[in-house]
């Protein structure tokens, strides 16, 4: 899957699975911060993203430090997935 499509797919999944009712795909910029001042995700959302990585992409994230970097933005997350799945 081209990286651009993967980014769009991730935005849809994040909106659906994290119940971001007030957001649409077009509201999320590729480089927006997912946590903190960006989408305002919390610690439970982080756990949900870890489950999503495992369930949908077969990637198991076990190092908390790695998670902090991987979930920085859609751009970073998509690149991380692409490197490990050749999508």
């Amino acid at each position: 899957m081209p990286i651009k499509e993967l980014r769009e797919e991730l935005k849809k999944k994040i909106i659906d699975q994290l119940n971001l009712e007030d957001f649409s795909v077009s509201d999320i910029e590729d480089d927006d911060a997912l946590f903190g001042d960006g989408l305002g995700l919390d610690s439970i959302d982080a756990l949900e993203l870890i489950v999503m990585l495992d369930k949908d992409y077969g990637i198991q994230l076990t190092d908390p430090k790695e998670g902090k970097e991987v979930f920085k933005s859609i751009t970073v997350l998509a690149e991380y997935i692409a490197e490990r799945t050749n999508k």
Partner: protein, 193 residues
């Protein structure tokens, strides 16, 4: 105040009514119609959504609510609606992906936490499971909290959700307040439509 039969009412007046058959549709429309702005609402389970809307309506109409307000809630179904969802997610060992955001709601008292977080209430709280609405227990607990000075006000009630059935009834009591905190009155108010 009541939330039942697709209606939200306060002091015998219907504040909101909608024909939506499904709870998820009804509560979402109610959230928007009541002008509540709290994005975390959409991440909550059904029981917490029901409790939060009910508490919001009640608190908006309370005078001088302060952080020393206790909450005592009760129901029949505990968190069974969410428990079932969690159970489904862990029943297949080959497809074992429990959702953290579902799991955190597998206790009924979490809905009290959601109310306390939104309204910054820091007093006592407890959640009880009964077969039926139990005015005696609510009366006893609220009187204890007020008479021992552990709380200035107490929000009490019944918040039940199971399958597609829901029923919320909340009221507020305070020391020397206008509310008639007698078992008979609590029972009468609960039975009002």
């Amino acid at each position: 105040m009541h939330v039942r039969n697709s209606k939200i009412s306060l002091n015998y007046n219907i504040l909101f009514e909608d024909g939506a058959e499904e709870f998820k549709d009804f509560i979402k429309i109610a959230y928007k119609a009541l002008g509540i702005d709290y994005p975390k609402f959409f991440k909550m389970d059904n029981l917490s959504k029901l409790a939060l809307i009910a508490a919001d309506v009640l608190i908006q109409n309370m005078e001088n609510i302060d952080e020393n307000t206790a909450i005592i809630l009760s129901n029949r179904a505990s968190s069974l609606d969410t428990d079932r969802k969690h159970q489904e997610s862990i029943s297949d060992i080959d497809n074992y992906y429990p959702s953290p955001s579902v799991f955190v709601y597998t206790l009924p008292n979490i809905c009290i936490g959601e109310i306390c977080i939104k309204h910054q209430l820091f007093s006592e709280n407890s959640f009880y499971i009964f077969e039926n609405f139990n005015p005696n227990h609510l009366w006893l607990q609220s009187e204890y909290l007020l008479k021992t000075g552990k709380a200035n006000k107490v929000i009490c009630g019944w918040v039940d959700f199971d399958d597609s059935n829901y029923d919320a009834f909340l009221y507020a009591v305070e020391k020397n307040g206008d509310f008639d905190n007698s078992i008979e009155n609590i029972k009468k108010l609960y039975l009002c439509q």
